[in-house]
C-alpha cells in the first residue's frame, strides 16, 4: 500500500464533511484512524447517553463543533416526563476543560440551564454559534449571558424552545462592539424585547442574513428593521397588525420592495390578513415559506399569497389551506420539495382541514416533492397509490390521520396497500410515519421493500408480534424505531436482540412488552440501556415481572447505565 504522509491524509480528510464518510474512513486502518481523529472538528452525537463526554474528548481532541440530541422523539408529544434527563451541563463542563477552541454547539431536546449557558459564554472565547431546538430549562437570563460574553457571536438560533421569559433586557446585553451577528432567531420567545436595542443591533451588524422576530415586535419596527437591513435573506416577521392602506402599510410595502434577497419567510404570529399584500413584492423570490404559526391567515388569504410564490421549495402551512389551497399550491409551486401541513385544530372533528384530495393534487403538480408531513382527516389506498406513482422520490413520508385507526374512508379497508405502494415505489425512503387502520400486512411490505428506511414511527397499528418482526428482519438500515399502542410483546422484542445494537434506539409505549421481557433483553445485551419509564406514582410498588411496561426506551451505549437517571426511570 502506498504511503501517504499524514499531512496529505489530513488534507484529504478535510474534504470529507459527512460524519458517515469520516466514520468510514476511520475504520480503514490505524493510521487513518489516528489522522482522522486528530483532524475531526465536527462531531454529531445522536443520543447524548450513548457515550460520555470524557470518551468524546479522549477520541477527538480538537473538536470545534458539537451537535447533541437528548430526549427521545416522543418527548415532543409529552410522552416523556420532564425530569427524564438530557442535561447538557456535564458536557459543557467537560468541554470547558478540554476544548478551549469550541465554536459551535447545536442541541436538540436537551435540558439547558441558565448555569450551562453562563458557563458556555465564559469558557469558550471563540464561541460563535448556539442553536437550540426544542430545548427547555433556561430563561432569558441565560440568553443575556450569551449576548454579553460571546464577543464573536455569529449565530443565536432558538427554535421552538420552551423558554422562561423573564422579560429581562437580554437584547440590550449585546455590547456595542458586537457587529458579527449573521443569524438571530428569537421567534419562540414569548415576552417583550427592547425594541430600540433590537433596531440598534440590526443596524450595526452588516452581515446579518437571518432574523426571526417574536410576536412582541410590531409591524412598525419590522419596517424600520427592513430598511436598515435590506440584505436579509431569511426573515421571520413578528406581529404584523396593520391597517390596510394606511401609511404604515405603505411604508412596509416599500420596505419589502427593497429587500431583494429575502428567500425565506416565516412568523406572522399575529397578523391582519388584509395586510398580507405588503409581502407580495418578495413572494416571487421565496424558496421557503412557513406560515404554520399564523392561524389568523385563513384559506383565501393564504391562497392569494401563494399564487405569487412560484419558486417555493419548502412550504409549511396549517390545514386551513384546505384541499382547494393545495390545488393552488400544485399549480403554482412547481419547484416544491418539502410540504408540511399542520392541524390548526389538533382535535378530531374540527374544521374541514385537508383530505387525500389535497395530497393527490400536490403529488400531481409537484414532481420534485420528496419530503412530506401531512395531518389530514381521512385517506384512501387509492390516493396513496396514486401519490406513490407520482412521486417516487420521497425520502421522508409522514402521514398522520387525525383519527387513530381510521380505515380507507371509501372502502373501509385498512391502509396496508396504500403504504405498501409508498414503500415499494419510493426506493430512497429514509423516514416513514404510519397512521390509520393497519394490519401486520403493512409491516410485511415495509420489511420487504423499505431497504433504505432509517426511522419508522408506528402508532395504533398491527395485529401481532409478526408485524414488528417483519420490520426488524427486513429493514437493514433501521436506526430508530418508535412504537406506541401496538400489540407487540416480548416475543417480538426478544427474537433478534442483536438488532438493537445496530440501531440508535427503540421506543415502545403502551404495547404488550412486560418487565420480564425487559429484564431478559438487558441481560442478553449489556451494551444496551433498557430503561423503563414509570408513572411517578407507581415507584413504590415492586411490580410483578408479568406486568406490562408502560414506556420502554432502549438504546445502545458504550458507557453503561447513566448516572443521572431519576427515580422513576429504571435501567434494567
Amino acid at each position: 500500500m502506498m504511503y501517504f504522509p499524514e499531512e496529505v491524509l489530513e488534507h484529504v480528510f478535510d474534504f470529507l464533511s459527512s460524519h458517515r464518510d469520516r466514520n468510514a474512513a476511520s475504520l480503514v486502518c490505524k493510521s487513518w484512524f489516528k489522522v482522522e481523529r486528530w483532524s475531526r472538528h465536527k462531531v454529531f452525537i445522536g443520543n447524548c447517553y450513548a457515550i460520555t463526554p470524557e470518551r468524546l474528548i479522549k477520541r477527538f481532541p480538537k473538536v470545534r463543533s458539537l451537535s447533541l440530541k437528548g430526549k427521545p422523539h416522543f418527548a415532543d408529544f409529552n410522552l416523556v416526563p420532564h425530569e427524564w434527563g438530557g442535561f447538557v451541563l456535564p458536557w459543557i463542563e467537560a468541554m470547558a476543560k478540554s476544548y478551549p477552541g469550541l465554536e459551535e454547539l447545536r442541541l436538540k431536546r436537551m435540558v439547558v440551564s441558565d448555569e450551562s449557558l453562563e458557563l458556555l459564554s465564559r469558557a469558550f472565547p471563540n464561541f460563535k454559534a448556539l442553536v437550540l431546538v426544542s430545548c427547555e430549562g433556561f430563561t432569558t437570563d441565560g440568553l443575556a449571558s450569551i449576548a454579553a460574553n460571546c464577543r464573536f457571536l455569529r449565530e443565536l438560533d432558538l427554535q421552538e424552545n420552551d423558554v422562561d421569559d423573564h422579560r429581562g433586557h437580554w437584547l440590550c446585553r449585546f455590547p456595542d462592539s458586537c457587529t458579527s451577528l449573521v443569524s438571530l432567531n428569537f421567534a419562540c420567545l414569548k415576552g417583550e424585547v427592547n425594541l430600540g436595542a433590537l433596531e440598534r443591533l440590526v443596524a450595526r451588524c452588516p452581515n446579518l442574513r437571518s432574523l426571526r422576530l417574536n410576536r412582541s415586535v410590531p409591524a412598525e419596527i419590522l419596517c424600520k428593521i427592513l430598511v436598515k437591513a435590506p440584505q436579509l435573506m431569511d426573515l421571520g416577521a413578528g406581529s404584523c397588525i396593520l391597517v390596510p392602506r394606511s401609511d404604515s402599510f405603505t411604508k412596509l410595502t416599500s420596505a419589502f420592495l427593497n429587500c431583494a434577497s429575502v428567500k425565506s419567510l416565516s412568523g406572522f404570529w399575529e397578523v391582519t390578513p388584509r395586510c398580507l399584500p405588503a409581502v407580495y413584492p418578495i413572494c416571487s423570490k421565496l424558496t421557503s415559506l412557513n406560515l404554520s404559526y399564523a392561524p389568523a391567515i385563513q384559506g383565501n388569504d393564504l391562497i392569494k399569497l401563494i399564487r405569487h410564490c412560484q419558486k417555493l421549495q419548502r412550504l409549511w402551512v396549517l390545514d386551513c389551506i384546505g384541499d382547494k389551497g393545495l390545488a393552488v399550491v400544485a399549480s403554482t409551486c412547481k419547484e416544491l420539495q418539502e410540504l408540511r401541513v399542520f392541524p390548526s385544530d389538533p382535535y378530531v372533528g374540527g374544521n374541514a382541514g385537508v383530505t387525500e384530495e389535497g395530497l393527490v393534487s400536490v403529488s400531481i403538480g409537484c414532481p420534485k416533492l420528496h419530503s412530506l408531513l401531512y395531518f389530514c382527516q381521512q385517506m384512501t389506498n387509492a390516493a396513496l397509490t396514486t401519490v406513490a406513482k407520482n412521486c417516487p422520490r420521497f425520502t421522508r413520508f409522514r402521514l398522520c390521520i387525525l383519527d387513530p385507526k381510521r380505515p380507507d374512508h371509501m372502502t373501509s379497508q385498512p391502509l396496508d396497500e396504500g403504504f405498501g405502494a409508498i414503500v415499494q415505489s419510493c426506493k430512497d425512503l429514509r423516514r416513514l410515519s404510519l397512521s390509520g387502520l393497519l394490519t401486520d400486512q403493512v409491516f410485511l411490505y415495509i420489511g420487504m421493500y423499505a431497504e433504505r428506511l432509517e426511522m419508522l414511527s408506528i402508532a395504533f397499528a398491527g395485529d401481532s408480534d409478526k408485524g414488528m418482526l417483519y420490520v426488524l428482519n427486513g429493514c437493514k438500515n433501521l436506526r430508530k424505531l418508535e412504537i406506541r399502542d401496538c400489540p407487540f410483546g416480548d416475543d417480538a422484542l426478544l427474537t433478534d436482540v442483536g438488532k438493537y445494537e445496530t440501531m440508535r434506539s427503540l421506543w415502545m409505549s403502551s404495547c404488550d412488552v412486560t418487565i420480564r421481557g425487559c429484564k431478559v433483553l438487558a441481560e442478553k445485551m449489556p451494551r444496551l440501556n433498557v430503561e423503563i419509564i414509570n408513572d411517578k406514582d407507581l415507584i413504590e410498588e415492586t411490580p410483578d415481572d408479568n406486568q406490562k411496561v408502560e414506556k420502554m426506551y432502549v438504546y445502545r451505549t458504550l458507557d453503561g447505565p447513566r448516572k443521572d437517571a431519576p427515580e422513576f426511570v429504571w435501567t434494567m
Partner: protein, 358 residues
C-alpha cells in the same frame, strides 16, 4: 325638558329604555310601559354638559380639526331622510332641542351592536351614557363576545369607550360649529332608522355578518386547544400525545387563538357597517375592524365620500385624489357616469364592492 337621567340609575341592564324621537324638532320622549323614561340631551340646557363639551373643545380642537366635517351620529328612528336635513343646519339652540339617538332596548340579554356603530354625535351626556353602556356591555359581553372593533382586552375596551365620550363630545361641538362654514355635508353612520324594530333588524343583519363566523367560532372554540381542558369533543377521548404535534406548536397556536378571540371573536371576520352621506346617491359599507381608532375611521370615511363633496376641505388636494383613485370609487374618478349598485333588504342603494366577495 327633564334633566338628563342616566342609565346608571336603572340598576339593571334590561331596563334600559328606548328613547325614540319623532320627526319633530321637539324633544319628545316615548316610553313603553314598564320602561323607565330617559331623556338624553346632548347640548341642551344642561349646563354641565355644555361646559364639559366646550372645555373639551379647546383641548381637542387641534386633533380633531379634520373631523369637523364628519358629523358621526346615529340616525333617528322614525325619521325619514328629510329630517336629517335638520341636522345640517344645526345650531346649538336647535341641537338643544333635538332628541338624540336612542338606546335600544336590550332584549333577552342580547346586546345590540349599537355601541359599535354609535359613533354618534352631539346628543348625549356622554360620560353618563357611556357608563351605563359599560354596564350593559360588561354583562352581555360574557355571552356574546361582542367587543369593540379595537384590539385589546376588556380593560382596553373600557378605555376606548371613555375615549368615545370625549370624541363624541368634541365631534358634536365641532360639527355644530363648523357646519355653517363647511361646504361638506355631514355624514351619518346609521342603522336603518325607520323604527326601533327595524333598527334592531339592522343590528341583527350586521350581527348576522358576524354571526356566521361567530357561530363557527363558537364551535371551533370547543375544539380549540385553548378550551381543551374543559371542552374536548364529546365523542373522542383524548389520547396523550395524539395527534403527534409538538407541544410548543400546540401552545403557540393556543396563545394566538386566545389573543385573536379577545380581539374580534374570530380572526378574519369583518364587521361591516353601512355609512350614508346625505345627498349621496348610494351608501357605502365599511369594515370597522380595519381601523384602529376613530381618527383612522374618520379619515377613511372622508376619503370615501370626498368625491361627493363640492370642495375639498383640508389640504388634501391632489394626494387625496390619488388615494381615492385606488379606492372603489375608481369609476367615478375616471369619468364613467355609471357605477354598479344594489338595493339591500332595507331599501338602501349600496355600492357594489365594499363587502368582500367571500
Amino acid at each position: 325638558m327633564s334633566p338628563p337621567l342616566t342609565v346608571r340609575d336603572q340598576g339593571e341592564e334590561s331596563n334600559v329604555s328606548l328613547v325614540a324621537s319623532s320627526a319633530s324638532a321637539n324633544s319628545t320622549c316615548q316610553s313603553s310601559p314598564g320602561l323607565k323614561e330617559h331623556y338624553y340631551m346632548g347640548l341642551s340646557d344642561c349646563s354641565s354638559a355644555e361646559s364639559y363639551v366646550i372645555s373639551n373643545l379647546s383641548k381637542e380642537k387641534d386633533t380633531n380639526l379634520n373631523l369637523k366635517a364628519t358629523e358621526l351620529r346615529l340616525g333617528i328612528p322614525g325619521s325619514p331622510s328629510p329630517d336629517r336635513d335638520l341636522e345640517i343646519s344645526v345650531s346649538s339652540s336647535e341641537l338643544a332641542e333635538k332628541p338624540f339617538f336612542p338606546l335600544l332596548p336590550v332584549k333577552d340579554g342580547f346586546f345590540s351592536t349599537l355601541p359599535k356603530t354609535v359613533v354618534s354625535g352631539n346628543k348625549r351626556v356622554f360620560s353618563d351614557a357611556m357608563d351605563g353602556f359599560r354596564e350593559l356591555k360588561s354583562s352581555a359581553y360574557g355571552d356574546g363576545n361582542w367587543t369593540f372593533p379595537t384590539s385589546g382586552s376588556e380593560k382596553e375596551t373600557a378605555k376606548v369607550q371613555g375615549k368615545i365620550s370625549a370624541n363624541l363630545g368634541v365631534n358634536a361641538i365641532l360639527s355644530s360649529r363648523s357646519l355653517p362654514n363647511s361646504a361638506a355635508k355631514p355624514v351619518s353612520i346609521k342603522e336603518q332608522p325607520v323604527a326601533s324594530s327595524t333598527l334592531l333588524k339592522e343590528m341583527m343583519s350586521s350581527k348576522v355578518l358576524q354571526d356566521g363566523p361567530h357561530t363557527l367560532n363558537n364551535t371551533n372554540h370547543d375544539q380549540m386547544p385553548t378550551n381543551n381542558n374543559g371542552n374536548a369533543p364529546a365523542a373522542k377521548a383524548q389520547l396523550v400525545g395524539w395527534p403527534p404535534v409538538r407541544s410548543f406548536r400546540k401552545n403557540a397556536l393556543a396563545t394566538t387563538s386566545k389573543n385573536n378571540d379577545e380581539v374580534d371573536g374570530k380572526p378574519g371576520s369583518a364587521l361591516f357597517v353601512k355609512v350614508s352621506m346625505d345627498g349621496a346617491p348610494y351608501l357605502r359599507k365599511v369594515d370597522l375592524k380595519t381601523y384602529c381608532n376613530y381618527l383612522e375611521l374618520c379619515s377613511a370615511l372622508e376619503k370615501m365620500f370626498s368625491c361627493f363633496t363640492i370642495g375639498q376641505y383640508g389640504s388634501h388636494g391632489a394626494p387625496g385624489r390619488d388615494i381615492l383613485s385606488e379606492s372603489k370609487l375608481k369609476d367615478l374618478l375616471h369619468g364613467s357616469e355609471y357605477v354598479l349598485t344594489y338595493e339591500d333588504k332595507d331599501g338602501d342603494w349600496m355600492l357594489v364592492g365594499d363587502v368582500p366577495w367571500e
